[in-house]
């Protein structure tokens, strides 16, 4: 038995860091990823496609997305099992309720694990989030009631991974990995955490297409082959259509703003897709580096998202701190003030530039 697992596609999610055009393109990229998943299922002749939740975002989905999903799954040519998550929770207003699914699509609708027989002796247990939050763990009080091999399919937070998974991820339908075998399940196919995880008793496939920067790991769809004894063999496949890259560019020693642009252009010259550039380094006070100046330095990219990292202006603060002048007093006062580091840096550089007689470069990022 071969299953193709994916989760956390988050169709119709917003991309706040991007401009309107890039953001729209990114959302279409998510759809392309789903089409790739279906093509992968066809290529590997899997017996079923299973989705462990957060297929779309309930608060944002468009009718067009509903029709896209209906058509895509209808054309899958194989069973598709959907277990709604906290972002695509099942309710009367859900996309799931709106779509007239074809017979090959099976939607788990109960907030407890219910069984579907995939084959003789192989049972898939799935459940749905019925609310956006406060969903209890699906394994609590659960146990299989029949013989054979049992797989779980749901959207939840494995407790031991809450600490290192994405920051800010709230715990939904929590469960413990060691609880899985006690329920009689041989393996759990789960979604929610976007970082991929192939654990002994459960598998997080990760979000198949990048949702933000800094995502690492082998994310995508997971081909799960289930043996007769319940053992699983997992093979990960990248299905993303987008390239999202983080690049750090050191602009120390640049003599003017154009040199900073040149360094950025050189750093991203071989890249494609979307690149986030983080500038860092020590820059002479005379050099005015502005993020908006980096527009257009890499036309081959879909988007360049610049941001300032630890960019230090090369003032000799040690000397300034002992200077018995207004400038020295200003540096001492600001250094001793209760300010966050970003504000302190901006105030220092702004004040020193003003004292340097610079009139047009007083905005410090």
């Amino acid at each position: 038995m071969k299953l193709l697992l994916f989760a956390d596609l988050h169709l119709d999610t917003p991309f706040a860091w991007a401009d309107a055009e890039v953001a729209r393109a990114r959302r279409f990229g998510l759809r392309d990823a789903l089409r790739r998943i279906m093509a992968l299922a066809h290529e590997h002749r899997v017996d079923a496609v299973v989705c462990a939740g957060d297929l779309y975002e309930h608060d944002r989905f468009s009718p067009d997305t509903a029709e896209f999903l209906r058509v895509t799954f209808a054309e899958a040519g194989r069973p598709v099992f959907l277990a709604p998550g906290n972002h695509d929770w099942l309710g009367p207003q859900s996309l799931y309720a709106q779509v007239n699914w074809t017979d090959n699509v099976h939607l788990f609708t109960a907030d407890r694990l219910t069984a579907v027989s995939l084959a003789d002796g192989l049972t898939l247990w799935g459940a749905a989030h019925r609310a956006p939050a406060n969903t209890d763990g699906f394994l609590d009080g659960f146990g299989v009631d029949r013989d054979g091999v049992h797989l779980g399919l749901f959207h939840g937070s494995e407790r031991s991974e809450i600490g290192w998974q994405e920051e800010g991820k709230a715990a939904h339908a929590p469960f413990s990995a060691d609880h899985i075998p006690r329920t009689g399940l041989h393996h759990a196919l789960v979604g929610h955490f976007h970082s991929p995880r192939d654990a002994a008793w459960h598998t997080y496939p990760g979000n198949p297409d990048p949702l933000t920067f800094g995502e690492s790991g082998d994310r995508g769809a997971v081909l799960v082959e289930v043996a007769a004894d319940g053992g699983v063999t997992r093979t990960r496949h990248r299905v993303s259509v987008s390239q999202v890259t983080d690049v750090d560019v050191d602009i120390s020693g640049v003599r003017h703003a154009d040199e900073a642009r040149e360094r950025v252009a050189a750093a991203v010259a071989t890249l494609r897709g979307i690149v986030r550039v983080t500038l860092s380094g020590e820059v002479s006070p005379e050099v005015d580096v502005r993020l908006r100046d980096l527009r257009g330095v890499a036309p081959q990219l879909e988007a360049l998202v610049p941001r300032l990292g630890r960019v230090q202006v090369a003032y000799d603060f040690d000397s300034l701190l002992v200077e018995q002048t207004v400038r020295g007093q200003f540096v001492r006062d600001v250094s001793a003030a209760d300010l966050d580091e970003g504000t302190r840096r901006r105030v220092l550089v702004t004040g020193l530039r003003a004292l340097d007689g610079r009139s047009d470069e007083l905005e410090v990022h």
Binding site: A23, Q93, D316, R327, V347
Partner: protein
């Protein structure tokens, strides 16, 4: 720190040359082309090095390199030997080209101490001073151009000080930096006002627009989701309604089947019932025939085919016997009588009295009227007990004296309300009169001092005007004199070809200028005294003192002009009284004098300022006089108004008192209020007495009415009245006594009726007794007669025994007769019993025979037996049919019940009631109606679902994208955050910078002032003794012995130069870390100065070199000459540079 030597290994035109420097003052002198500037640059480069960093250097760095790279190539390198104040000696070696081999080495320890002073990539000795190479250049290095720019520009000294305080002179002042920040904020942030088009307002507007768009998109999305859910509901409802229709159709079908079965079951049950009835009918017939046959058989056996014999006798005898017995038993023996006989009762009746005439009890009419009369009398008596006092007519009124009584009568006549109003008016008038009188007195008291003050102010104003006019005239005269002197000087200059000996002139200036100082001191003292007097409110003495100041200053100004310019001592100059200078006084003026210098003379300027102050004081005094006049007018108006108010109040008081007297009332508000209360109390008492009298008359009339009615009632009851005046009480008592007597008589006469009844009853009882006796005798006679008849009856009528008894004697009614009657009764009763038994037997036989005949009905016994057998066979056949019909009905019932059970699963079917086909028929009708309803509902639901589907498609087509709205909002928010962050940063920067500026200025100002206070008297030969520095602006003011403060940059150029140099020394020391002294490096600072100023500067530098190293680059020979003369000893040195060909 000091620099001991500089070696230019390769620097511009210099190669392998060294320059040693003295620890005190070193003058490095050389004409043009002697590499003086190169040595100056090499000195700086050797001490401070050059910035070393990645990338190209700054424009200044490049310019420095262009100027000072070695002309003949080679390694661009300089070095210097430096001595620190902590005793260390350091060799600084600067690789200016590669900027790699730069180091600082301690010459004693040999240690590389470069890291102590590394700044921007190379060792910088100024770091030991707490400076860097930029701030060292700005602080310790002074050139002539800088000096000139400071002295040539207004507020140049102040700005230079601010720049030094802000950035050690390297960059802008803090104020300029704050202006830049403010300008940047205006341009790049702006205000959040509706009319603003600056970034902040634009960002706010865009953020609000994006937020609104996001809310709209979210609301539309939520509405869309609601619509989706609603559509789902409608679809589900349509499906449900369709299912309901199908269920209704099935239910109708089942009910129709049930209806058919119910009707079949009912028909089968009817057939079964009919068969059962037929069986019962035949079965009963068979049983009846069998019973008749059995009875006929028994009767036939009893009579044997013959009828019975029957019974015959004289029926009349039996009846007579029975009647005789009944009459005897009815005639009972009478009971004997007891009690009074009728004759005795008749006698008692005759002895009774007759009934009385008149009332036995008090008549109701009399009793009612008597009660009413007694009540009216009691009410009147009670009312009399409550008789009130009679007010003024009472005994209390007599206690008043005549005057009080008169006043009270007047108060009663006027009425309490009017009296109280008069009292209030009297109080008001008295209060108003008192208040207005007090106010008037107070205003009068204020008015007089104001008039005196006005007169004083007017006198002071006139005096101040006079003083101001005289002061102005004095100043004008002084100016004219000075101008005259200037004209003469100009003429002399043109006529003279030989320049004046400036040394002599200078000495004369100093000698005669000495006369100005006492005058200035006097002017200072007088001006201070004048200002103090004015401030203390003594304008006239103050103005006199200020006028004296003006005169003194004017005199001083003229004296000073002449002291500078006139080659002979100045004669007496009398301007104190404002008189013009003597016409013949025409001083000869120094050829260097120019007319414009009069404007620069501080004494003249001070005189002018004093004149201005006098004019200002006069104007102020005039203003005070006008204010005092205004106050006098104001107080006069107030006094007039107070006087009018007092008169009006007094008139009101007189009017009120007059009215009191006219009404006969006292003019005292307290007495008036007492009279008002008394009048009010007297009125109340009169009212109460009148009310009591009125009530009593009413009660009295009621008594009279009641008495009349009682008298009338008594007469009507027959009471005799002896005379009309007889009291009604006596008449009533007589009537009641008569009633009691008649009652006793009536009770005696009342026994007649009962006695008459007893008499009648006794009479009737005696008559009844006689009648009963006669009836019983007749019955006994009849009984004896019938007994004879029975005894004489033949045949079987009786036996011999009772026949003998019938012979008893029945004559008479005595005991014998009664015993005989009893015998007859026993005999006749026995006879009659025997006879009745015989008759009954005969009667039963006759009836049985009749029955037999009836049962046979003409049939024989055999025929009757055959008929019974036929009945029995028919009954058996009917029983079989009935059994079959019942079974068929039961089967139909079972089928119907089964159908009912099935129908009950679908429809509301009562299984028990389903046995009734009519009920089921009604159910069918209801089910057909329900089905029609369900079909209509299902159709409506389907239509609604389809309609909403259409709306949903339309809504989906126009739905806005929520993520795009979120992204737009995020971008707008980010932009607003950026602008707000910029605003916050600029605001914080401005605040910090302002605070730093204030703090540093506050710390620097005393340092600068202290330095000037230390050096100023010495370098100005006592002309200026004190100095102050404004901590806000760092503006410097100095004053001489006269204590008049002057702005430092408005002083003469020489003095200003010296002050500036002193301030630079002070700043250099202030900016230098404690423990080190900053050397001064000066480049051609005297090149534009005249000999006096040059000498002054050099003298000052020499003085300063006692405290710190001074290095002066100069090109003028005069400086070299001065150095040769003054720089003696080991602490000072003169270095003469030789020209080099290619510099």
């Amino acid at each position: 720190m000091r620099i001991d030597s500089v070696t230019a290994h390769a620097f511009g035109p210099l190669a392998g040359q060294s320059l040693s420097l003295a620890p005190g003052m070193t003058v490095i002198s050389g004409a043009n082309e002697s590499a003086k500037s190169s040595w100056h640059a090499a000195l700086f480069a050797a001490a401070c090095g050059r910035r070393r960093g990645r990338g190209a250097g700054s424009r200044e760095d490049r310019h420095f390199a262009d100027l000072h790279r070695p002309w003949d190539g080679g390694e661009w390198r300089v070095s210097a030997m430096v001595a620190l104040d902590d005793g260390r000696r350091i060799e600084l070696d600067q690789d200016l080209g590669g900027r790699v081999n730069c180091r600082a080495v301690d010459l004693i320890t040999g240690a590389d101490v470069s890291n102590e002073i590394m700044y921007e990539g190379s060792p910088d000795a100024s770091r030991w001073l707490g400076l860097d190479r930029r701030s060292f250049a700005a602080t310790a290095c002074i050139n002539q151009a800088e000096l000139l720019s400071i002295l040539a520009v207004a507020d140049g000294l102040q700005e230079q000080l601010q720049r030094a305080a802000a950035t050690a002179g390297t960059d802008a002042t803090a104020a300029a930096a704050l202006d830049r920040i403010a300008a940047f904020a205006r341009e790049h942030v702006g205000l959040d006002r509706p009319t603003s088009v600056r970034p902040l307002r634009c960002a706010v507007v865009e953020r609000d627009r994006a937020m609104q768009a996001l809310e709209d998109a979210r609301r539309a999305h939520a509405d869309y989701l609601d619509l989706v859910a609603h559509a789902q509901d409608l679809r589900a409802r349509a499906v449900v309604e369709t299912g309901t229709v199908r269920n209704a159709e099935g239910a109708l079908k089942d009910l129709e089947a049930l209806h058919g079965l119910a009707r079949g079951a009912a028909d089968a049950q009817a057939a079964a019932d009919r068969a059962g009835e037929r069986f019962a009918e035949l079965s009963a017939g068979a049983a009846a025939a069998t019973r008749v046959l059995a009875q006929v058989t028994e009767l036939d056996a009893r009579f044997g085919g013959r009828p019975p014999a029957g019974f015959s006798e004289a029926a009349q005898l039996g009846s007579d016997v029975a009647a005789a017995l009944a009459r005897w038993q009815a005639a009972e023996a009478p009971t004997s009588m007891t009690g009074q006989t009728s004759q005795q009762l008749r006698a008692q009746l005759a002895a009774l009295p007759a009934d009385p005439a008149g009332d036995l009890l008090v008549a109701e009419s009399v009793r009612v009227t008597a009660v009413e009369w007694e009540g009216a009398v009691a009410v009147l008596a009670a009312h009399d007990d409550r008789e009130p006092d009679r007010g003024l007519r009472s005994a209390n009124a007599g206690a008043m004296d005549d005057e009080s009584a008169t006043a009270l009568q007047a108060a009663i006549a006027a009425g309490p309300t009017s009296v109280r109003e008069l009292a209030a008016a009297l109080d008001t008038a008295l209060h108003a009169d008192d208040t207005t009188r007090r106010s008037w007195a107070r205003v009068r008291a204020d008015h007089e001092p104001a008039r005196i003050e006005e007169a004083n102010e007017r006198a002071a104003a006139a005096e101040a005007q006079t003083v101001a006019r005289r002061t102005a005239e004095t100043v004008q005269a002084a100016e004219q004199t000075a101008m005259f002197a200037a004209a003469v000087t100009e003429a002399n200059r043109r006529a003279t070809t030989q320049p004046a000996a400036t040394g002599r002139a200078g000495s004369r200036w100093r000698s005669t200028g000495g006369l100005g100082s006492p005058l200035l001191i006097a002017a200072g003292v007088l001006s201070t005294l004048g200002v103090v007097l004015v401030l203390l409110g003594l304008p006239v003495p103050g103005l006199v003192a200020l006028a004296a100041v003006v005169a003194t200053l004017a005199a001083g100004a003229v004296l000073r002009v002449f002291a500078r310019r006139v080659p002979r001592p100045v004669e007496h100059f009398q301007h104190l009284d404002g008189q013009r200078a003597p016409a013949g006084h025409q001083p000869v003026i120094d050829a260097e004098f120019a007319p414009g210098q009069l404007e620069d003379d501080p004494s003249v300027a001070l005189a002018r300022r004093a004149a201005d102050e006098a004019r200002t004081t006069a104007a102020h005094a005039q203003s005070l006089a006008i204010q005092a006049s205004s106050r006098v007018v104001f107080l006069a108006d107030q006094e007039q108004a107070a006087r009018a108010a007092a008169a009006q109040a007094e008139a009101r008081l007189v009017a009120v008192q007059h009215e009191c007297r006219e009404r006969g009332l006292p003019c005292n508000s307290h007495a008036l209020r007492m009279l008002a209360e008394q009048a009010e109390a007297a009125g109340d008492q009169e009212d109460q007495w009148a009310a009591w009298l009125h009530t009593r008359s009413v009660y009295e009339a009621a008594v009279q009415t009641a008495e009349h009615q009682l008298r009338t009632a008594l007469v009507e009851r027959g009471t005799r009245v002896a005379e009309p005046a007889e009291p009604v009480r006596d008449i009533l008592d007589n009537y009641e006594q008569a009633c009691r007597e008649r009652s006793v008589q009536a009770q005696a006469a009342a026994g007649r009726g009962a006695l008459q009844g007893a008499f009648a009853d006794r009479l009737r009882a005696e008559q009844a007794y006689d009648t009963a006796e006669r009836t019983r005798w007749s019955a006994g006679v009849e009984l004896a007669d019938i007994a004879h008849r029975v005894a004489s009856c033949p045949g079987d009528c009786g036996a011999d025994s009772w026949r003998a008894e019938s012979d008893a004697d029945l004559t008479g009614l005595g005991p014998t007769a009664v015993a005989a009657a009893a015998t007859h009764v026993r005999a006749l009763t026995g006879w009659r019993s025997q006879r009745d038994e015989q008759f009954a037997t005969a009667q039963r036989d006759a009836e049985a025979w009749a029955t037999l005949q009836h049962l046979c009905a003409g049939q024989t016994l055999v025929e009757m037996t055959t008929s019974v057998e036929q009945w029995t066979a028919a009954a058996a056949a009917a029983q079989s049919k009935a059994t079959a019909a019942i079974e068929a009905a039961e089967m139909a019932h079972a089928e119907r019940d089964l159908a009912a059970d099935l129908a009950a699963g679908i429809a509301e079917v009562d299984v028990i009631a389903a046995a009734d086909a009519d009920i089921v028929g009604k159910w069918v009708q209801v089910a057909r109606h329900d089905l029609a309803d369900h079909r209509a509902v299902a159709s409506t639901a389907s239509a609604a679902a389809e309609s909403l589907e259409g709306e949903l498609r339309e809504r989906a087509r126009t739905l806005h994208s929520v993520p795009e709205a979120e992204e737009a909002f995020a971008r707008a928010n980010a932009e607003l955050d950026r602008v707000e962050e910029l605003s916050d940063t600029l605001k914080a920067t401005s605040d910090f910078l302002t605070a730093a500026q204030d703090r540093v200025h506050r710390s620097i100002a005393p340092v600068l002032a202290a330095t000037l206070q230390r050096w100023l008297p010495r370098v100005t030969a006592g002309r200026y003794l004190d100095a102050i520095v404004d901590p806000k602006t760092l503006q410097v003011q100095v004053c001489g012995p006269d204590r008049r403060w002057r702005q430092a940059d408005l002083l003469s150029l020489g003095t200003a130069e010296q002050i500036y140099l002193l301030l630079r020394v002070a700043l250099a020391q202030h900016l230098t870390l404690s423990g080190e002294r900053c050397p001064l490096v000066l480049d051609d600072v005297t090149v534009q100065a005249d000999a006096d100023r040059t000498a002054g500067i050099l003298d000052l530098l020499l003085e300063l070199s006692a405290d710190r190293q001074v290095i002066l680059f100069a090109q003028e020979p005069a400086v070299a000459a001065w150095a040769a003369e003054h720089l003696v000893g080991g602490d000072h040195a003169l270095r003469l540079l030789q020209p080099i060909g290619s510099e």
